[in-house]
């Protein structure tokens, strides 16, 4: 399909730019379909071996099957896997009961901050897409974060054509978004075309399936009978339901996502 080829070409171009412009990039992998497709794009861009670490943020609240999927694929694709965990908060028993905003910030954002500090990464490749959420629709391909990890969304860089801004003066790192322009449907068509592995939780069982994967306490399945990739593609062509409808942190309050992202959430 020419459309998928165009999407892929641009993503590969962006990944190669990130690798050429930054000293220590890393890619974030949630084990979900988008970031798995992004890892595959990395393999394509760099001719098989991903030349930088793959970070998985472990909140310890992920679904069991996500851990199994992670460990299998990490081995199969020869990843240099780095697990980021906020050990301190986890030891203190921090969790969803403390509020979704606080929990996401501590267990995800803070875990990632520490991982960046420890490893000195200056670019983080993330598989966010514009069509997932209104706030993500406002993102740049290369998006700087300041020393406090914050996204200055009111003063984003001029980003014209494919001439990305990669300076990092008093910026601790740059977020790179190689699949920003993909839709959910594109990802699934790409998964089908490239025969990519995906977590079985995406496929319907007893009339329900997960459309977006996160932490177990905060992620709900949707009603669906789509039990194959073909059926998922068909469902997405027709559905009126938002992709992240099962993700609690998006809907707790108005602008929770904006506040989370301003603090450095993905």
């Amino acid at each position: 399909m020419q459309e998928l080829k165009d999407l892929e070409n641009r993503s590969i171009y962006i990944l190669r730019e990130a690798c050429a412009e930054f000293k220590r990039p890393a890619v974030l992998w949630s084990t979900g379909k988008d970031s798995t497709a992004t890892l595959w794009l990395c393999r394509k861009a760099f001719f098989d071996k991903i030349p930088f670490p793959v970070i998985h943020i472990d909140t310890t609240y992920k679904f069991k099957s996500m851990y199994a999927f992670r460990d299998n694929l990490a081995k199969e694709w020869g990843m240099n896997l780095v697990i980021a965990k906020n050990e301190e908060a986890i030891e203190q028993g921090f969790g969803p009961k403390d509020g979704k905003f606080e929990c996401c910030t501590r267990l995800k954002t803070h875990a990632l901050m520490k991982c960046l500090d420890d490893n000195g990464f200056d670019a983080l490749i993330l598989a966010i897409r514009r069509d997932e959420h209104g706030i993500r629709a406002k993102e740049r391909y290369f998006s700087p974060r300041n020393s406090e990890f914050k996204w200055d969304y009111k003063d984003q860089p001029l980003e014209m054509w494919d001439l990305y801004q990669s300076l990092t003066q008093d910026k601790t790192h740059t977020r790179v978004h190689p699949i920003l322009h993909w839709r959910e449907l594109d990802v699934w068509e790409y998964v089908r075309q490239e025969k990519l592995p995906v977590n079985p939780m995406y496929f319907a069982k007893n009339g329900k399936r997960y459309r977006s994967l996160g932490c177990e306490p905060c992620t709900l399945p949707i009603e669906s009978n789509a039990s194959t990739i073909d059926e998922i593609v068909k469902e997405l062509r027709e559905t009126k339901i938002a992709e992240r409808s099962g993700r609690a942190q998006d809907k707790e309050k108005a602008f929770t996502m904006q506040k989370l992202r301003a603090l450095g959430y993905m």
């Binding site: 590969i12 969304y153 014209m160 801004q165 108005a254």
Partner: protein, 402 residues
């Protein structure tokens, strides 16, 4: 086919509302989004607005204006990526960011206010960006009682503005985003108008004819894979074949393309847009541009460009960085030939010592060796950004030295 369309125009002329209406009427709004927005509107004691589908920042809602550019997608006869841009002067940076990927523009003009400052500036900038396909939506027709005379007056004013930039044969569509007239559905309130609705105008867009252009491949990097050295980059124009004799500039190295590589495969040829790898017996650098030895790229130390400035000042003699393709070079503002009012396109000063924020200008740049192409010939290598700590301006190449 995929169409990138940007909605431009003055603040409060209804760009976001018009896009929101398009999404709503084309049934592209997700379930729950309407109730979510109704809830928000209540919380902020506002009435329901179609613009809230786009304005996702709380500051945008509080201030009732768009701050940064948004892209949303919906399907008509084409698959549209619609870009909303802010209409405030202080956010021109975000407007340019949003408009730089567009194939098509819609200029939104309020029937109440007619041509305003950013109407002119946005028209000038989309023209500078080389967007040739432009429609004009005269919005808020409901507020002028769908009066044909108001529409005709604005059509006259905007035609004058756009003709001075070189636009001809434009679609003018009277619409009301709030009421839904002539956006997705034909209006019953304007029987005097027999032209297309906005969606009909967009749906008639067909891909531009692909012209035969010389091969230009930009080098991003080189990798060593299983002891093979692979030069990676993108074909920006033309076609590259296995076996081609090519030259890289400004490195000046030459070679024969032994293989065109992609992951797990080899290609016989690659075309514009393809991200590929080359196996070749020479050593080009990141930033080089490659072409056939029979029609090679030329590196030079000087070119003339038209640029728009986003930071406070740019002075003659100033040294900064410039990026074109994948090459970043030091450059000097050798001579500012014309200072141009970006609102009107009119030259306001010849050979000034400096230009200011939001000015456009014709500038002669002296650079380290660099391949640029005339924007009208090969746009991909005819556009550049100016860098001083951050990206401070952007422009297109008017004349490349040969």
């Amino acid at each position: 086919m995929n169409v990138n369309v940007v909605f431009t125009g003055h603040v409060d002329h209804g760009k976001s509302t018009l896009i929101g209406r398009l999404l709503y009427d084309s049934d592209s709004i997700k379930e729950g989004q309407v109730t979510e927005i109704q809830k928000l509107a209540e919380e902020y004691k506002r009435r329901f607005e179609f613009a809230y589908f786009l304005d996702a920042f709380d500051d945008e809602l509080k201030e009732e204006r768009t701050i940064d550019t948004t892209k949303v997608m919906f399907k008509g006869k084409n698959l549209y990526t619609v870009t909303d841009v802010p209409g405030h002067k202080e956010f021109i940076k975000n407007m340019l960011t949003g408009a730089s990927h567009a194939d098509v523009a819609v200029l939104v003009v309020s029937a109440e206010e007619g041509v305003q400052e950013q109407t002119g500036r946005h028209a000038f900038l989309i023209h500078m960006l080389g967007i040739k396909d432009l429609s004009v939506a005269v919005n808020k027709m409901d507020t002028v009682e769908y009066d044909k005379a108001v529409f005709e007056k604005i059509r006259k004013d905007v035609t004058k503005l756009l003709q001075s930039l070189g636009y001809r044969d434009l679609n003018f569509i009277p619409v009301s985003a709030i009421e839904g007239d002539n956006v997705y559905q034909k209006s019953e309130a304007m029987s005097w108008y027999s032209g297309p609705t906005l969606i009909e105008a967009l749906d008639t867009i067909r891909p531009a004819k692909i012209e035969t252009k010389p091969l230009r491949f930009v080098v991003q990097d080189n990798y060593t894979v299983n002891s093979d050295r692979i030069i990676v980059g993108r074909v920006e124009s033309g076609i590259l074949h296995k076996g081609d004799e090519v030259v890289f500039q400004p490195s000046t190295v030459k070679g024969k393309v032994e293989d065109i590589r992609v992951f797990n495969g080899k290609l016989e040829k690659a075309q514009a847009g393809d991200s590929i790898g080359l196996v070749i017996d020479c050593n080009p650098n990141r930033g080089d541009v490659c072409g056939l030895i029979t029609d090679p790229p030329v590196a030079s130390n000087q070119f003339t460009g038209e640029a728009v400035l986003l930071n406070n000042y740019l002075r003659q003699g100033e040294i900064l960085q410039l990026r074109c393709g994948t090459r970043k070079v030091r450059c000097e503002v050798k001579q500012i030939q014309e200072r141009i009012n970006s609102e009107t396109g009119v030259v306001i000063e010849k050979y000034p010592q400096q230009i200011r924020q939001h000015d456009a200008a014709t500038i002669v740049f002296a650079t380290e060796p660099l391949v640029v192409e005339k924007f009208s010939n090969i746009p991909e290598l005819g556009r550049f950004i100016l860098i001083q700590d951050k990206n401070i301006g952007a422009g297109v190449v008017l004349e490349a030295a040969r």
